[in-house]
């Protein structure tokens, strides 16, 4: 196994899939000459040329739509958004075009396209640049949504996304791009729709995805060290479809759960997870399921306020203590 950064794992996935399939191309702001705003596409212009690594104007709605149109005519576009904050301008194309054309055409026109880019808060970027969009996107039938937390999952899920015949949203993380981890050698594919236990445990399940996996893992360490509690960390990896079986299997063993996410609490993704648990694991629960989310405010700029707004290991530990009735 090689140790790679999350960024290089994504880069490998793009390179391998572009080598495998000449219909795959990458389009977005700064993906070519600049080598990617976050260097995910480093070296790809040199290898594949400007026909397949396409720099765009700052026109998210426009180039997202160009991607969907290209998919309608048989290509497999990968559309990079510099961040998902800017992709809000392209929501019409994602929601009204990409997600609906197969259905409204009675199955005639599939849209095999990937929309990818960093999601959620980084550091002190303030309100407009620090948002987690997964609950918006996972709400839409016709889309698949994945949110890898590790380099191995980033590579494996992006490859699956590119090969999928549907629109797939890949939520990356600016704070994850430098994260290092082992990536299996050779062809490495992670199927969409499967969660993974990142740390086994028996007393409480911490359900998380993307950046909150690291938060949950730290919380699990603290719980083990200070409370003697064994927390299982379940990384959803795929937010639509949701691996309901994995959630239920874990909760059946631990009887307690805390859902951790970067999004806002109201109508958040965690609420969907809680719905699955209360519906199908009601009898196994020993405590109400709690959620740890971003504070219900636009993200502040000030460093201390920002820290208070984000999900943290301490907040996860506090929630876990409550469901374990340790308070």
């Amino acid at each position: 196994m090689a140790t790679l950064t999350y960024r290089d794992a994504l880069n490998q996935a793009l390179r391998e899939e572009m080598q495998r399939d000449p219909n795959v191309f990458l389009m977005g702001e700064e993906v070519g000459v600049y080598q990617g705003a976050y260097k995910v596409s480093r070296g790809l212009l040199e290898e594949f040329g400007p026909k397949r690594i396409v720099d765009t104007p700052i026109a998210e709605l426009g180039f997202a739509g160009v991607g969907v149109g290209a998919a309608m005519a048989g290509l497999r576009p990968v559309i990079e958004f510099m961040t998902w904050n800017f992709a809000v301008l392209a929501l019409d194309q994602i929601v009204n075009s990409a997600a609906k054309i197969l259905y409204e055409s009675g199955g005639q026109v599939p849209i095999p396209i990937v929309f990818r880019g960093p999601n959620g808060a980084a550091l002190q970027l303030a309100a407009q640049h620090s948002q987690a969009w997964e609950s918006w996107l996972a709400h839409i039938p016709g889309l698949k949504v994945v949110a890898p937390a590790t380099p191995a999952d980033a590579k494996g899920l992006l490859k699956s996304a590119i090969r999928d015949n549907n629109p797939v949203i890949v939520l990356e993380g600016e704070m994850l791009y430098n994260l290092k981890g082992e990536v299996p050698d050779g062809e490495h594919i992670v199927p969409i729709g499967r969660a993974e236990v990142k740390r086994p445990g028996s007393d409480v399940t911490l359900i998380c995805h993307s950046k909150t996996v690291a938060v949950a893992l730290k919380a699990a360490e603290q719980l083990a060290e200070h409370e003697g509690a064994s927390a299982e960390v379940l990384d959803l990896r795929s937010l639509r479809p949701l691996d309901e079986a994995a959630i239920l299997e874990s909760v059946a063993r631990t009887n307690r759960a805390v859902v951790v996410e970067e999004g806002w609490p109201h109508s958040g993704l965690g609420a969907q997870v809680v719905d699955v648990i209360q519906r199908d694991a009601f009898d196994q629960l020993d405590a109400p399921v709690l959620r740890v989310t971003q504070a219900d405010v636009p993200m502040p700029y000030n460093k201390q306020l920002e820290r208070l707004a984000k999900p943290s290991p301490d907040r996860v530990v506090a929630a876990a203590r409550r469901v374990l009735y340790l308070d």
Binding site: F25, K51, V54, T56, P57, A59, L61, G62, F63, A64, G65, V66, G67, V68, G69, A70, A71, M72, A73, G74, L75, P77, D92, Q93, N96, S97, I101, L102, Y103, E104, S105, G106, G107, Q108, V109, P110, I111, P112, P141, G142, K144, N165, N166
Partner: protein
């Protein structure tokens, strides 16, 4: 002698083309009249935007294109679907929401699709499909083909960002797209000049260094010729064109909108009807001796029978099975 024979053959081929276009325009007119009737009877639901008055645009432009070219449109697309050759039965059945409809009853009036004929919708958000057309053009260029994509939209879509983003990218990437703006003067009930700083749509092309042409949309032959020029431009170097085709819709914006409403006068509609594209072409063919009243009546009877049959077919067709509710959400 050989030249004279060739000219005769070519004249006769052209007359044949004109007769075909006349038939298509008549078919669309009668089809839309039937759709209006069926809507009033509650057999067609939702929004239903008729093409009456605008027939020359879809018919003239599509007659100039090839079968392997791509077509994409807005929600006022019944006429273009018919002109593209989507069977009237399948279009009417779609309006009725039936399983035999061209989108299996799941799209309706605003989402007609026929992938085999490269008719790629039917899109309901004003201007939202214009970038899709650029994307189809991108795919054509990517694969090295010489097809074109024609994209229809109303003049009201010109005020939307998607129009500008798409035209810019089509020009920057040299995409083989014909942007066909059907300027029927009103975005729903709002006269274009009340909401547009630049009222000649064709002027927008200069912002994107794009070829453009202003076309009389009540003259099917003018539409045909302008589209042919645009298609040549696209095929020879992948250059896009903006066509502003001046036309007029006789009916309301949709079936829920009265004939002329409060935003235009009855007199204005009557005045525009004098430029009727079907009457104009019929008159030309009569003057050339290529058509007489009896032939026109016969043609009209033929398309009326065809649209009657489309209604009969749609009525007799089954609704989609309940299980169809959850199919086609995702592809395999």
């Amino acid at each position: 002698m050989a030249t004279a024979t060739a000219r005769t053959a070519s004249t006769s081929a052209h007359t044949e083309l004109e007769r075909r276009m006349l038939r298509q325009m008549l078919l669309i007119r009668r089809f839309e009249e039937k759709a209006a009737e069926a809507y009033a009877l509650g057999k067609i639901g939702g929004f239903c935007h008729l093409y009456i008055g605008q027939e020359a645009v879809g018919v003239g432009s599509l007659a100039a294109l090839r079968e392997d070219d791509y077509v994409i449109s807005s929600y006022r697309e019944h006429g273009q679907a018919l002109a593209r050759g989507v069977p009237a039965n399948a279009v009417m059945a779609e309006l009725f929401g039936k399983a035999t409809g061209c989108s299996k009853g799941k799209g309706g009036s605003m989402h007609l699709f026929d992938a085999g004929r490269r008719f790629l919708g039917g899109h309901g958000i004003v201007g939202g499909h214009i970038p899709l057309a650029a994307g189809i053009g991108f795919a054509i260029r990517y694969k090295g083909g010489d097809q074109v994509c024609i994209c229809y939209f109303g003049e009201a879509a010109v005020n939307i960002g998607a129009f500008h983003e798409a035209l810019n990218m089509a020009s920057v990437y040299k995409l083989p797209v014909i942007f066909c703006c059907e300027n029927n003067r009103y975005g729903m009930g709002t006269a274009f000049e009340r909401v547009a700083a630049v009222t000649d749509v064709v002027e927008h092309a200069c912002s994107y260094d794009m070829a453009a042409e202003l076309v009389d949309g009540m003259d099917v032959l003018a539409v045909y010729a302008a589209t042919e020029r645009a298609a040549d431009r696209a095929r020879s170097g992948g250059h896009p064109t903006l066509l502003e085709v001046r036309t007029y819709r006789y009916m309301g914006h949709s079936m829920s909108d009265p004939l002329h409403g409060v935003y235009r006068t009855k007199e204005e509609v009557e005045e525009q009807r004098k430029r009727d594209p079907i009457s104009q072409l019929a008159l030309k063919l009569k003057e050339e001796g290529a058509l007489d009243d009896a032939a026109l009546d016969a043609l009209d009877a033929e398309v009326r029978a065809q649209t009657d049959e489309a209604v009969r077919f749609a009525e007799a067709s089954p609704d989609p099975e309940p299980a169809e509710l959850t199919t086609h959400v995702l592809a395999d």
